[in-house]
Symmetry: C2
Subunit: 246 residues, 2 copies
């Protein structure tokens, strides 16, 4: 678990057995050489973001990973009404809650997209239980947000504010895309399915696929399976609803 901050980059250590200092006096010469703490996860360094082309000598690698999408619902509507300051405060809180919950379980924040976050587990910090850790991160995001008053709709006419989460796991491609603008991202059907599953989740709901559920079935026993037809996905996707917050 990543609760305590590491003095060396855990990604470089796990993937290359290289101890790259990211905190403390030994980190100073590395910082001067341009190697800093990664924004994706505070236990990683910026080498991890560009590891593919520089270290692995290829643009993409194929790995087992779990992808989590979380989305602040009712936010589009709210940003039409509420004053910009309130909307920004809510987004600030959402970004921070997501970051802490994801980093605590060794995930990386691949990107925030307005009112949504895309997180990846099992790369570059590896862990056998990445699907389970992703679900626990999702549960913590829900709990942290439920504690916040701002996430309650102010007006009975408003769409209720809440978070929808979708999680899928499988073999996926990760790496750099583009030449003019290089972007570190996850590519392929795992991320697409996770995104569509998230879109199908109701506010307060964590929806996981049939590939994720066995990893948390002990925590959420006997849930009913729903096979869903999702936009852009040809085959039906089995989903399980882990929780709907009150």
């Amino acid at each position: 678990m990543g609760a305590e901050l590491s003095t060396i980059c855990r990604g470089c250590w796990q993937n290359m057995h290289m101890p790259i200092p990211i905190r403390g006096p030994l980190a100073v010469p590395f910082r001067l050489a341009g190697i800093k703490i990664s924004r994706m996860n505070p236990n990683l360094c910026t080498i991890c973001e560009t590891m593919f082309t520089k270290v692995k000598r290829k643009k993409q690698i194929t790995i087992e990973a779990t992808v989590l999408f979380a989305d602040l619902r009712g936010y589009t509507n709210l940003s039409e009404h509420a004053c910009a300051d309130n909307v920004v405060d809510m987004l600030h809180g959402f970004y921070d809650d997501c970051a802490f919950a994801i980093w605590e379980r060794d995930g990386i924040i691949n990107k925030f997209i307005g009112d949504a976050v895309l997180a990846v587990f099992n790369f570059p910090i590896e862990g056998d239980d990445h699907a389970r850790q992703a679900v626990l991160a999702g549960v913590e995001i829900m709990q942290r947000c439920a504690d916040k008053k701002e996430l309650v709709a102010r007006d009975s006419d408003d769409e209720p504010i809440g978070i929808g989460i979708g999680i899928h796991t499988g073999v996926t491609s990760i790496g750099e895309v583009g030449t003019a603008y290089k972007d570190f991202t996850v590519i392929g059907s795992v991320v697409n399915i996770a995104s569509r599953v998230q879109a199908a989740a109701k506010p307060g709901e964590i929806l996981v696929t049939g590939e994720v559920y066995p990893h948390v079935a002990d925590l959420y026993p006997g849930l009913e399976r729903h096979d869903r037809q999702l936009k852009g996905i040809e085959h039906a996707v089995s989903t399980y609803s882990l929780m709907v917050a009150a």
Copy 2:
């Protein structure tokens, strides 16, 4: 127009009248001090990305801006079938086409999100005709992609591959969100409406709002207005369809 590469950062010059060298021998000491060319646009420096908190002493500023969303359609489906290499090649081409078309017209790439791009015009490089420039960038993205064989569906059963584009303009908030994970992004209804308009565009279609159309009415005269109810947007949004590629 931004076709030629600038030797100083155009954002710092326009916003602060500071000549920050980003190319040539004068740029070397700045690079050593950590000031580099921005990924958002090759005529900007990394100061522009963090200008709000450091220079403007606030986290967000409110500006007139045009937001363009472009999305590679049929890609979700294709990534289920095609071999990963083909899918990645297609994405590489899409990222590059978008980058060149947007940068050429002084826009910034705020982020790529899998098979979609979010671009902003009029910040930090200002221009009175930002709505028009955004439309011209959209047209160029369509043309560049139409020239590519990869963007043609391989199989008659496949959903046709094509690009959908949505453009909206208005007053919006731009700045840094989050404290643990800081992200430079656009916030508020302009970006939400642009995103929903893009989702309504068919493959090959550029859909612009009633706020954008007057800026290009001389290029596309006499188009019919369609008022649309879009997900999460309470009021109807007027749209005009500029082109549907063959």
